[in-house]
Symmetry: C2
Subunit: 246 residues, 2 copies
């Protein structure tokens, strides 16, 4: 059962203000909770239905002290997603570590939509990027909609917040998509690189363009004026991995 006090606490964590105050965030859904249990993140509590607890008895055995059996209807009430019918966990926000600039990084200038950030975290994970750096104005990576859209990848990709100009300024290989760039199909890429993507409606800020060592264009063949940021990220990453100089 979820007590009234717990229910109120969990709901409060939908807001960034309370996540920062309590240093906790919420992970919802079977897939995300299972990935969480495999990660190094510090789990504080898990609320789960009887059927989830039975199905994953073995995996959950190490966490028995943290488990609370919960009715599906109560899970739906406290969570952000009416589709969550299995499990919800409270997790400690890990301390910010430094950015490791010996590895390639995906950077996002003012990414605002939580679904987009969650999707690019999943894409980063697929393509083997372990770090994302967002400009400080970006959406919070512990927003429940971000966590949900990562499909578990939040547990493997570190998200940093930093002023992008400083990061790009000290990087040798800085790639970014622009409409004037060179055809991505005909390039070679080098690591460690920083690949930077612009805001959903405004694109890359003008003062960041000066840091690009290679402007890249994703060729279009039809009528659309642009691709969304997650789609551009995926197409870039696929070409980047294919075209890395050995």
């Amino acid at each position: 059962m979820i007590s009234n006090r717990e229910s109120k606490f969990i709901k409060s964590l939908q807001l960034k203000k309370f996540r920062q105050l309590e240093n906790q965030f919420v992970v919802e859904g079977a897939k995300n909770v299972l990935e969480l249990l495999h990660s190094d993140l510090e789990v504080i509590k898990v609320f789960a239905t009887n059927s989830f607890l039975e199905k994953y008895q073995e995996k959950l055995s190490a966490y028995s002290a943290l488990l609370t059996e919960t009715k599906e209807v109560d899970l739906k009430k406290v969570g952000s997603f009416s589709s969550n019918n299995a499990a919800l966990a409270l997790v400690k926000i890990p301390p910010q570590t430094g950015i490791d600039d010996t590895q390639s990084i995906l950077a996002f200038d003012r990414i605002k939509d939580p679904g987009n950030l969650g999707t690019v975290i999943r894409i980063a994970d697929w393509y083997g990027f372990k770090q994302i750096v967002c400009s400080p104005e970006s959406v919070d990576c512990y927003n429940p909609k971000v966590i949900s859209a990562t499909m578990g990848s939040f547990a493997r990709v570190q998200v940093h917040y930093a002023v992008l100009g400083e990061l790009l300024n000290k990087s040798e290989h800085v790639y970014g998509t622009t409409l004037q760039g060179d055809n991505i199909h005909e390039l070679k890429f080098q690591e460690p690189a920083v690949v930077v993507f612009g805001n959903e409606s405004e694109g890359l800020a003008e003062d960041l363009k000066q840091y690009l060592t290679q402007e890249v264009f994703i060729p279009g063949y039809g009528g659309a004026e642009s691709l969304n940021v997650a789609v551009s990220t995926a197409v870039f990453c696929d070409n980047f991995r294919r075209l890395l100089k050995p």
Copy 2:
């Protein structure tokens, strides 16, 4: 001004049942309405703010009989998106035409999320695919969230609903992504092709796999188990256009 009767009518079109009954759908937002006016679709009415009407006076001159000046607050009230502060149009649903199998087609097996369908329509448009075929269980392409996510591409890409087995059965080149497929970076593709993508959580239906003439795998380099359907579509299309046999 939007009358009470109009307001009720517009809101009713959020439901597929009423869209089919009235044979109309709603297009919201400046970008989508402007793309609509450039298309062959039959516009019935346009509600727009004074500033939108002034800004696009020239483009709108051919539609003067259909225009109603509307306050921003009223637009937000009748529309599906609180972010729409410019224009909303009522549009006639065009008659279904036959599928043109002399051109390449993107096909979707039970695509359920309206944001995903809208995004793949935008991707199809970018990569020059003029037709999408969805299985009959898929989300309705005139759903307001679909239209919104297309960013205007709904005006250039035809969406058909058909039993996919029949379509795939008569196509010479049928490509689909599977975990057992060949590395997409090392293939060649031929046109006209049908490229088929599976349901968001269940993937491609087993009885459709028999029609694939080439199973394709998008190589991953990290921990994520899968990519979302719109991301897979984009990565596929990018490689398809790059790897077409001359």
